[in-house]
């Protein structure tokens, strides 16, 4: 039933797409039909797979590093009022910079390889994770904190045993957002300068009027992002369910 419910709109969309191509006789270099895209997807599967692997590595590395950095930053900000005063404005300022504008600079500094794309993905997700986790850390129920103080907890132990576990849902919310944003960062990085990856492939295909290849790459990227989002979403919910049951 659920499969059917998902399949119906997909099939409807594909049918509409193919109908537009047939009715208006759109040339394939403007808009290739789904049948043609599917054919290209199969024919170019090795090429697409090779480039997809690069993008997936960039995205995963960006998420892991961004999550780790965001975790540490949020805890430091929550522990130290001085850090909050010094670092919070910088954090907000970093968010005011359009990441698109930073991509060329990162490519200049870190080169055309993986590093600049991982840095882009990291940059895109760092703020949502830090912000969501930090907010949760600052919202520990005051009664729990009073209990910890009466029990003679040090600030660090109170952080480790009460505030961080209580804020886990906030961290996971940030991680769910990261799963959606990280691929955007990696693709921007690849557009600005790369020799591998799905973003690079799309740009290359577009430049050579191979619109069907571009669509095929886009499709793979979208499917990967959806799958990543779902895995992180389910994983986060399972973690929260299991730890309280």
């Amino acid at each position: 039933m659920t499969v059917l419910r998902m399949l119906v709109p997909v099939l409807l969309g594909l049918a509409l797409w193919q109908a537009v191509i047939l009715l208006w006789e759109v040339p394939p270099f403007i808009l290739p039909g789904p049948v043609r895209v599917a054919g290209t997807l199969w024919d170019a599967r090795m090429l697409i797979a090779q480039n997809a692997r690069v993008t997936i590595v960039e995205v995963m590395a960006g998420i892991v590093l961004g999550a780790a950095l965001g975790w540490v930053s949020a805890v430091l900000l929550a522990l130290s009022p001085a850090a909050r005063i010094a670092l919070r404005p910088m954090l907000v300022f970093s968010q005011a910079l359009p990441v698109f504008a930073l991509a060329p600079i990162l490519t200049l500094w870190l080169g055309y390889g993986l590093a600049s794309k991982i840095a882009m993905a990291l940059l895109v997700i760092y703020f949502p994770i830090t912000s969501a986790f930090h907010d949760a850390l600052m919202r520990t129920p005051p009664e729990s904190l009073a209990l910890a103080r009466m029990m003679g907890a040090s600030r660090w132990r109170e952080m480790w045993h009460i505030r961080i576990p209580a804020a886990l849902p906030g961290f996971l919310t940030g991680l769910k957002l990261a799963a959606v944003y990280a691929p955007i960062g990696a693709i921007i990085g690849e557009w600005v300068g790369a020799s591998k990856g799905l973003g690079y492939l799309m740009l290359l295909a577009n430049g050579r009027a191979k619109t069907d290849l571009m669509f095929a790459a886009l499709l793979v990227l979208a499917l990967f992002t959806l799958a990543l989002h779902r895995v992180v979403d389910r994983g986060a919910d399972a973690i929260l369910r299991r730890r309280e049951a």
């Binding site: 129920p141 005051p142 009664e143 729990s144 009073a146 209990l147 910890a148 103080r149 009466m150 029990m151 003679g152 907890a153 040090s154 132990r157 109170e158 045993h161 009460i162 576990p165 209580a166 886990l168 730890r243 309280e244 049951a245």
Partner: protein, 241 residues
């Protein structure tokens, strides 16, 4: 456990410019169970927090502490209406929370013994979400006992429980906390009549003492003296004592 000290709270408490309670002079006897009864908003919980040292934003124009002159910090435990169990910790780990927070070695055998004492053998590995309200308060009591503090502050810990569960918890707590200095805030006259060695009423008019029924707590809920005291206390609260 060190010898339990008496407690005192003197003065006026304010939040901003608003008076919360006082002026008053409250004393709770060493090693005795004192019930503090009163309507909502009379400042009972604030008074407990002044003693616990967790009254953020409250200015106490006066003094609160232990009658022996030494600091209360490290000698006092609090049990509140909300059980404050950490949902991600098992029952056993919740009982051991204090030791964990102080970086001490966990006395698991001791914690199991206390869990058995509050009737929760076999529940050690469960998470709080799998327990009933009464069972959760038992865990909170076990956690309080594990702290083994000479002074225990109770802030309406049984008020969310159904009548039978509440009566059982009262019996359990009265036995387990005997010999400690207990200051018990409640708005239930029957509870005060069952448990208090002394019964104080705090209201806008101030603090005054009502004679507690004879006999050692926990007194039977249907004893004539307890029923009479319950009625008397209810009448006083009705009159805005």
């Amino acid at each position: 456990m060190t010898a339990p000290p008496g407690l005192f709270v003197r003065g006026v408490a304010r939040v901003g410019g608003t008076r919360i309670f006082g002026p008053l002079d409250l004393r709770a006897g060493a090693g005795r169970w004192t019930c503090l009864l009163g309507p909502s908003g009379a400042g009972k919980s604030t008074l407990l927090r002044c003693l616990a040292g967790t009254a953020a934003g409250v200015t106490l124009e006066g003094d609160a502490g232990a009658a022996d002159g030494r600091a209360l910090a490290g000698r006092v435990a609090l049990m509140a209406q909300s059980d404050l169990l950490m949902p991600w910790l098992s029952v056993l780990e919740n009982v051991l929370l204090g030791q964990r927070l102080r970086g001490q070695a966990a006395d698991r055998a001791g914690a199991r013994g206390i869990l058995a004492r509050v009737g929760l053998e076999g529940f050690a590995a469960r998470k709080p979400a799998a327990l009933s309200g009464g069972q959760r308060q038992r865990v909170a009591l076990a956690r309080t006992l594990m702290e083994d503090r000479p002074v225990v502050l109770l802030d309406e810990p049984f008020s969310a429980l159904d009548v039978a569960t509440r009566a059982r918890m009262q019996d359990l707590a009265a036995g387990a906390l005997r010999g400690r200095t207990v200051l018990h805030v409640t708005h239930d006259p029957a509870e005060a009549a069952r448990l208090g060695c002394r019964i104080l009423i705090l209201s806008q008019a101030g603090l005054h003492e009502v004679a507690a029924p004879a006999g050692p707590p926990p007194r039977p809920p249907d004893g004539p003296e307890v029923l009479a005291a319950t009625g008397r206390l209810t009448r006083l609260l009705l009159g805005g004592a």
